[in-house]
Amino acid sequence: MAPKAIASPIPDSLYPTLSVFTLAIGLILTASFFIYEATSSRKTRNLTQELATGAVASVFLGFGSLFLLLASGVYV
């Protein structure tokens, strides 16, 4: 069996586009999180919804910032 070349899981030419989109989604979710925090009162707030929005936003921001690092040439 011939040795198989290992490539990155995502083609590296896609990193800039991916970072723009994931960061955009992440920032929109962050914005909605803070809008929710600011508009709801202490009694109407739902902890699970807050944490769920935060978790999804942080995943998008996390991957977005990783793709941004990769796109700018910082290969981690």
Partner: protein, 467 residues
């Protein structure tokens, strides 16, 4: 009881005697019918091509042929390669042979041996032809030791007119090729002939083992004596799709030292006659599909470089900040990125390996000390390097971006490296792709902590007065 120590001593002597017999046996059986040596002195890396026609005179077949080197040669020896020729004339093919240094005991006057193992043992009365290539570095001694800007560089080369060999040599000839026809002086060992750029010593008949006849050739050599005192190449693997290489050079001109002042005007206007032994252009051969190349030093970017790319290789032509004269030094660094899929592979047993070229990318350069550091991704296990020659290996840990436990670094060190060492080597390691998710999850958890902190802040009532 008193007999036992005596017996032991007797056995010891027997063993010693046997080992002496084993060590001295090759020189008795073999004979070199014809030896032709071609010494190429055109650059500062001395290449010697040796053709030996060996005959076995003994009764028992032998598969070992020994090459002998004087202590001075052995010290500067970078490469010894041997091959055997098969086929006739146009269908000639070279089969490489195994060459190993032989440990003590040394021969007379500290002669060092290398042993060539033949493919098939040489029977009684049989002959074989060996092609040997060996490379010497730092063996041209500049004389005069110091030259001014307008002078040309003259060097001494010391060798023997007669091949140093543990065997009886029937007939031999030595050819020395100098870069230019200007030869100041040379030792005459009759018959010696000089024509143009070639000096011919021999043919000499019937020389006993370990014959030596020192010769000294004093000639002009203005080729750049580019020596990298220390080169550190750091190869960082990222499974996210890139290999980053950083090369730190400490370059020096190892020729005759520069004397007096340096006149930039004279150097620039009379470029053919002034500073002939100096050099200002360097050529680095980089792999194809190289990207984000940079060339800088402590002060900052150096703009005098050109990159040419094609499908087989990339060539980086660059100039140090100043032309290098004898004894002058320059420190700089070159960095570049390479696509991962060209160098990283998965072997059938599931291991990953990096396939990269050893050696220095600069052409015609000697590296006194080469340090290659392969930085494996975080979470790799069991690193193992496979290199076709002897190197010093050890492991280190390096911390880079988003690292917690640190990256394993395989350090490969070798002294006296010449362009012939530019051959591929492999570093094998185990890596679980799940570790690739460590970095994004780390970033995500940082963001999540931020959100959790703001949630906690808004849920906790910190006011003193009850609302």
């Amino acid at each position: 009881m008193a007999m036992e120590p005596l017996l032991r001593i007797g056995v010891l002597f027997l063993f010693l005697h046997l080992s002496v017999l084993v060590n001295s046996s090759p020189s008795h059986h073999l004979q070199i019918i014809n030896a032709e040596r071609r010494i190429d002195l055109t650059s500062h890396i001395i290449k010697v091509y040796l053709t030996l026609k060996v005959e076995n005179l003994g009764t028992s077949p032998t598969s070992e042929v020994r090459l002998a080197f004087s202590p001075a040669e052995a010290e500067h020896l970078a490469v010894v390669k041997a091959a055997v020729t098969t086929g006739k004339r146009k269908k000639k093919t070279y089969v490489p042979l195994d060459v190993k240094p032989v440990g003590p005991p040394d021969g007379p006057n500290g002669t060092k041996f290398f042993s060539v193992t033949l493919l098939t043992p040489l029977g009684k009365g049989e002959t074989t032809t060996l092609e040997v290539l060996y490379i010497l570095t730092h063996s041209l001694e500049p004389f005069p030791v110091e030259i001014s800007q307008s002078e040309s560089q003259l060097v001494y080369f010391r060798d023997s007119a007669i091949l140093l060999s543990p065997y009886h040599v029937k007939q031999q000839t030595t050819f020395i090729k100098t870069p230019r026809s200007r030869v100041e002086s040379f030792t005459v060992v009759e018959p010696t002939k000089r024509a143009g750029t070639e000096l011919k010593y021999g043919p000499y008949d019937d020389h006993t083992p370990y014959s030596y006849s020192p010769v000294l050739v004093h000639f002009e050599n203005n080729n750049p004596f580019a020596v990298v005192e220390e080169l550190e190449r750091e190869i960082e693997i990222s499974h996210w799709g890139s290999i980053q290489v950083i090369e730190r050079y400490r370059l020096t001109h190892a020729g005759a030292r520069h004397k007096g002042v340096f006149s930039r005007v004279e150097y620039q206007t009379r470029s053919g006659a002034s500073g002939v032994s100096s050099f200002k252009h360097l050529l680095a051969k980089l792999p194809p599909r190289v990207h984000s190349v940079y060339y800088r030093d402590e002060i900052g970017n150096i703009s005098s470089s050109h990159l040419r790319k094609d499908f087989l290789k990339s060539e980086l032509e660059f100039e140090p900040r100043y032309p290098l004269f004898g004894g002058w030094k320059s420190t700089f660094l070159i960095g570049y990125g390479l696509p991962l899929q060209d160098f990283l592979f998965e072997s059938p047993d599931g291991k990953r390996y990096l396939n990269f070229t050893y050696g220095c990318p600069l052409s015609d350069t000697v590296v006194d000390k080469l340090i290659i550091k392969v930085v494996l991704p975080e979470g790799s296990k069991d690193p193992a390097a496979v290199i076709p020659f002897q190197v010093d290996q050890h492991l280190e840990t390096k911390y880079s971006y988003l690292d917690i436990v640190g990256r394993t670094v395989v350090v490969l060190e070798k002294k006296n490296v010449v362009p012939e060492h530019n051959i591929p080597f492999q570093v094998y390691y185990n890596f679980n792709p799940i570790f690739m998710l460590a970095e994004p999850l780390m970033l995500a958890s940082v963001f999540f902590l931020l959100f959790a902190a703001s949630v906690a802040y808004l849920h906790v009532d910190l006011s003193i007065r009850k609302s």
